[in-house]
């Protein structure tokens, strides 16, 4: 038996469900699968790459662990700013310099992809025709059908938008539209319009992480699509659920959030 075949046989022994699906690109891929052969995204995950505020994490307390996915000592690459139309530059500057008005500081829902990128746990509950994501931050949730349906035609604009999904190979692709214009693309004042359209791609990796990509299109505001990439790390088993996070309970920071010097 060749090494390749042995690997495939081993994979089928460990993951018999894989036998029911078309041959995956990497037969020895050890990612766990659901009964219907799809990669199993279920579990508690958390983004660790880039902060909601767009600031990288300092680390006076010590070195970064391997669990961070091999990122540099500053905690991850700084994200590119969304490419705004030139005539919007003044509005962008004003909002970037106004952290008190961030949806997060206001304890509002954060939208997509900001909710996913927020460094608080989320739980993915995956079923064959519907996936639910429960977010600790702002107690957000999303119900994501994957039964072939399209978005409703008469969507009312919402903070988290309307999501539908399909599988492209082993990648769970979520199409999100129907947003209002109240959230930011990140934590740094980068606004969008209600024409925002986001496509997210979730790919389970052999390293027990989810590779996450989101591409935001907003033709009235951005000159080209804006893409973010991050890694979702799995929480340890003892963290078996997301917990309540009622942000408005004691949100006493707002009066103390000031604008940086030199802005107005």
């Amino acid at each position: 038996m060749s090494k390749h075949l042995f690997a495939m046989a081993a994979a089928l022994v460990v993951f018999p469900a894989a036998a029911q699906t078309p041959a995956p690109a990497a037969p020895s891929n050890p990612i766990p699968r659901t009964a219907d052969g799809k990669p199993d995204l279920s579990g508690i995950w958390q983004a660790l790459g880039v902060s909601l505020t767009g600031e990288t994490a300092a680390q006076p307390g010590g070195a970064y662990p391997a669990a961070a996915g091999g990122r540099g000592a500053r905690g991850g690459p700084r994200r590119e700013a969304p490419p705004y139309k030139p005539e919007l530059a003044a509005k962008v500057r004003a909002l970037v310099a106004d952290p008190a008005h961030s949806p997060s500081a206001q304890c509002m829902l954060l939208g997509v992809p900001a909710t996913t990128m927020n460094p608080m746990p989320l739980e993915i509950v995956q079923t064959p025709k519907k996936t639910v994501i429960l977010y600790e931050v702002m107690r957000a949730f999303r119900i994501i059908p994957s039964d072939g349906r399209d978005h409703p035609k008469d969507l009312d604009p919402t903070y988290m938008g309307d999501s539908v999904a399909h599988w492209e190979g082993d990648t769970f692709v979520v199409d999100v539209t129907g947003f209002n214009d109240k959230t930011w693309l990140d934590g740094a004042g980068h606004f969008h319009s209600d024409a925002l359209h986001v496509v997210e791609r979730y790919t389970r990796t052999p390293q027990d992480t989810i590779h996450y990509e989101a591409t935001a299109e907003d033709p009235g505001v951005l000159t080209k699509p804006w893409k973010v990439v991050d890694t979702q790390l799995r929480h340890p088993p003892r963290d078996d659920r997301v917990m309540e996070y009622e942000c408005a309970q004691n949100n006493i920071d707002l009066p103390h959030i000031i604008k940086p010097a030199g802005t107005n």
Binding site: L48, P65, G75, D253, I258
Partner: protein, 135 residues
């Protein structure tokens, strides 16, 4: 990370992971650090715990600190959300009203009697990171 007096907790791989996650997560998930605190102005306050607001979006703890001239100032500092502290092993009852502690952190930019808390040290030498690093 240093949780020197919580060796048993430290031995838990889960805890190490969670603490590692905290260490590299930009944990000011709720509001911008720089908008409220000055990372260039670290500070240490010592005092007696007078109030513990174990609430979201951040735990707030208040201490009475006596200055050299005898005047007592009540300082408040914020830390991680309660859920984060629970995940890394700081239970709510480990800190009590009346405890004498010192706390490192960073000053508030608006000059108010509050700061971003980083590490608590109890009188018996126990230490715990109660809040994230500056960023």
């Amino acid at each position: 990370m240093k949780i020197r007096s919580f060796g048993a907790l430290f031995r838990s791989l889960s805890l190490v992971f969670a603490a590692a996650a905290m260490a590299c997560a930009p944990a000011w998930a709720h509001h911008s650090f720089a908008a409220e605190y000055d990372s260039q102005k670290p500070i240490t306050h010592k005092g007696t715990v007078t109030r513990i607001d174990w609430m979201n979006p951040h735990v707030y703890i208040y201490i009475d600190e006596k200055s050299e001239n005898g005047k007592v100032v009540n300082w408040g500092f914020e830390g991680y959300p309660p859920n984060t502290l629970r995940r890394v092993g700081l239970a709510r009852d480990m800190l009590k009203i009346g405890d004498s502690i010192s706390v490192t952190g960073w000053v508030a930019k608006d000059g108010s009697a509050r700061f971003a808390g980083r590490e608590i040290t109890w009188q018996d030498g126990r230490k715990f990171f109660v809040g994230p690093p500056a960023n």
